[in-house]
Symmetry: C2
Subunit: 241 residues, 2 copies
């Protein structure tokens, strides 16, 4: 297997969007796509898209664009989607049920191989053909089933223990929905989805939009109005979405 | 109201983690915190934390660290959490139920003010004291209730229409869980949480970890093994989590 290039994290996050748009094109029998069209479909500007794809050695053809089937193959290879990956889902409350039923996983080669919970009421429940097991079995099953990715949908108080059990079972990638920071060894990747944080980021932008339309009070410097002060700084990067 | 500084997006994303750790400290009667301790609790390195907080004009005291109560006040102000923000949740399937019941919202001043769905079976259901309304009422209710943030937890096919209705009702911030890209006017911020994309990002890292432990086949250049080629490039940034 050739060594894969190290890609900027932001590029890695955009590749799945390109892939989704490309699959839609393929389903509608398009054989080529321009960078402008693909960029719009993925919600990015086309210069960024061309830069991203150049990392994969994909440059398109002037006047024609990219070959859809080839680009799909290249992106799926780089994202490792040509290998089916087994996923363990831990925590089968509302969020766990939502994740267990999420269509988008299976179409990208992710197979939810096992479900776990600590609540005896939930253990034994059947969801989408899988029977929920007790979390005490997690390390053993993760190891036996060669589970690559663990998804944590438990309360915060349980999450670190679950992470420890996943790591003990050989899992090296974790998707964490619990509102807490996990401690993991080097070599274990963690992605975090935190709903409260997403709302707070939106709140920041709302607050800033409101402040930009307001005037400072007469005689008051905008910079000292708060105890401790908020110093204006040079923006390091534009606020993007 | 003083004009708020424009902060790098990455800093904005870390402020809520600092806030969570600070609230834990305050609940345990700690009055000061060192940058090292706070950085560890938030899962970042302390130089990055100090840089982030300097954007707010917070520099700490040598040998002592930061004043917990003051830092909470500054971060809550910048994030706009001193204003209670009304949230509309659209789509009350499993994911919507999980979001509606998520404790972390209320503690940060976010009030789920209204629930909507297009399914007549779900309309009229009571969740956490709120009655689910039909999505046809969305624009009117969003306007009447001064809803600031819309959360879209619908299937992809419905999401753009819901976004249009939210925008028509005066909503300027959207948190999108549907696996699609939304088109919105300038001035409307969209944050996207896409579960399939998160798994694909993890898959990329898994694939790369596997490839780094494998050797190229004898006689084969790693760079040409794939049709179209994968060109090695200079990493622009380290893969972080």
């Amino acid at each position: 297997m050739p060594a894969l290039p190290d890609l900027p994290e932001a590029t890695v996050a955009r590749l799945p969007e390109y892939l989704r748009a490309l699959h839609n094109l393929a389903e509608n029998n398009h054989e080529t796509v321009s960078s402008d069209w693909l960029a719009t479909a993925a919600g990015v500007n086309s210069a960024k898209l061309r830069k991203d794809l150049s990392h994969l050695g994909s440059y398109g053809t002037r006047g024609v664009g990219y070959d859809v089937a080839l680009l799909i193959e290249q992106i799926e290879y780089v994202l490792g989607l040509t290998h089916r990956r087994s996923v363990a889902l831990v925590g089968v409350g509302n969020l766990g049920h939502a994740l267990a039923g999420y269509d988008g996983f299976a179409t990208r080669g992710f197979r939810i191989a096992a479900l776990f919970d600590a609540d005896p009421v939930r253990v034994g429940e059947e969801i989408n053909g899988l029977v929920v097991r007790h979390v005490d079995e997690l390390s053993r099953v993760a190891s036996e089933e060669s589970i690559a990715i663990g998804v944590i949908a438990t309360p915060a108080a349980a999450a670190q223990r679950v992470a420890d059990l996943l790591v003990a079972g050989g899992v090296t990638s974790i998707l964490n929905f619990a509102p807490c920071v996990l401690a993991v060894p080097d070599g274990v990747d963690v992605r975090k989805v935190d709903l409260a944080i997403e709302l707070q980021i939106l709140s920041f932008h709302e607050h800033r939009k409101a402040s930009l339309t307001a005037l400072p009070a007469a005689g008051e410097s905008p910079l000292t109005a708060l105890s401790g002060g908020l110093a204006a700084t040079d923006p390091q990067e534009a606020i993007g979405t």
